[in-house]
Symmetry: C2
Subunit: 315 residues, 2 copies
């Protein structure tokens, strides 16, 4: 066997994550073989992260491993699906065992926490890029789609959106602030926590759901477009992080909150008069209401174009 690709894959990726009875054949053959549970639907997603685009050059390998799985688990969370199996394709400029070991540690720890088995994938040479394809389960007709919001529903968001983008700004020296606040923001950027448990709790409760990857306003805009509605946000209800305000100032903080990406919080809508399910993992804030007219407004005014659009990789 070649001492390169094949052995590296075997050594670091085999057996990563949870051990699952429904994995019949894992990493090492042309395909993995898995046994889907009878009577459930499969939720499938794939997301890529590219060095210099989705994360800064020089990010620690463990943080890259965490991130590529987190963004995919977040897609399952947004559908209310239970994670099961992941495929990883990794493109590296050169074989680097220390880097692979760190990547595997970050990936594996998060996979284990979410019951996800790494079942296969591919390693190639090229610019640093990681892609995960993920599969999860959801009972028939219970998945949280983007398209179910109706006028009169309330709009909610988990956690403190904007902190992750502010953490990146701290890393890049674009904002300063107290050391403790800076560290917490950076941690939020480096280790986004996919809201899998919240997504699960929202099944049967939320009318629509999306995760915040490109920015709260932009992703809420996509949910609204898919539902054929709009959303009226109330500024006084937006959950402004104290750390974010301390580091960015009050005005910029609002901009981070609305337009910052990479939070992987969930934005969801609930039928009028209903309360969200209990969720211990993060605060849930009611930030507005679904309206018939398309578009997202803040205190009655349209959002600036750049805030509304969030992070567009091709903009």
């Amino acid at each position: 066997m070649p001492a390169g690709e094949f052995e590296l894959i075997q050594r670091y990726l085999r057996g990563l994550g949870a051990s699952r009875d429904d994995v019949l054949l894992g990493v090492g053959d042309d395909c993995a073989l898995v046994a889907p549970p009878p009577g459930l639907e499969l939720a499938l997603a794939a997301d890529t992260i590219v060095e210099g685009v989705h994360f800064p050059k020089g990010l620690r390998a463990a943080d890259v491993g965490h991130r590529v799985l987190a963004v995919n688990l977040s897609d399952l969370a947004a559908m209310g699906a239970d994670p099961a199996w992941a495929l990883l394709t990794l493109t590296l400029p050169a074989p680097d065992e220390a880097w692979l070991e760190g990547f595997a540690a970050g990936f594996g720890a998060l996979a284990l926490r979410h019951g996800t088995a790494l079942v296969g994938g591919d390693t190639t040479s090229g610019p640093l890029t990681a892609t995960v394809a993920i599969a999860g389960f959801v009972a028939p007709a219970t998945a949280l789609r983007r398209s179910g919001a109706r006028a009169g529903d309330t709009v909610w968001v988990s956690g403190l959106p904007g902190e992750a983008a502010a953490g990146l700004a701290v890393l890049q020296g674009r904002i300063g602030g107290p050391a403790g606040a800076r560290e917490r923001l950076v941690a939020r950027f480096l280790r986004p926590e996919p809201r899998v448990g919240l997504g699960r709790a929202l099944r049967g409760a939320a009318t629509a759901c999306i995760d915040v990857s490109d920015g709260l306003a932009a992703d809420l805009g996509k949910l609204c477009a898919a539902s054929g509605v709009g959303a009226a946000l109330e500024g006084a209800r937006l959950p402004v992080s104290a750390d974010l305000a301390d580091c960015a100032g009050d005005g910029p903080a609002l901009r981070f909150l609305l337009a910052g990406g990479d939070d992987y919080e969930l934005v969801f809508t609930l039928p009028p008069g209903t309360e969200p399910p209990d969720f211990a993992g993060a605060p849930l804030a009611r930030i507005g209401v679904v309206v018939a007219a398309p578009g997202v407004t803040l205190d009655g005014a349209p959002l600036p174009r750049d805030v509304a659009h969030g992070f567009d990789h091709f903009a």
Copy 2:
């Protein structure tokens, strides 16, 4: 909605490939939703192709689209699985509608021919890279694994391995030859034909199977290692392509045949005394026998190290 990423995804990738009743929700939400058929196993694979590594810069978009799906369909073929659903993640230096349109055409035509629906994915900016994750079905315990070859089995290969690598050599001006032969070799490189039908026919017949992506000798070596056996190839039985010999000469032709990658033919083993199933898509050649001693030999001699190792992305 942003005019960039989101709309591009919608416009070119939605609805690509086959229309399938088991796709409940396709491109456009956080996840796709699919209904796996009861009682079947799922075969899952993912492969990445990188410009300048897996294909030369400047390859036509339609050929890139064909290739990234073909290499993944080939993984399903090697397991004997029936293709069903694909996820595509595409990294592009810049939004380019003409390029996306060409890519979609190449991808879509092959997907349609193999009953595969594109159900989701991701588009990001960065160096040109395409990844597909694919899922197919196989009846319980009928998948073709790499690990079932036993001493005494016969070793077979489909098609004319080496032609694809020679086609790349023609494209790169490394070999010449008659115009017709050159064109046919180039076509073999640009449009590899995944042996999905052959894989299906081999279920219940072959003891082990692998597809030729890195080179006949290297991939047969992986099959042997997984099975705990070796293989003795007979030079007189190797299917040397006339076009390949015309362009490369007889000696180099053997090297292309054994060490050239990108053919996506199947190498498989059959129990002693059995014949392969009928397959109209390509000739099948019996090229040797499985032996107890590890390693791959040619007419009794070990293969040169570089031939045995084939194409290693990190070598």
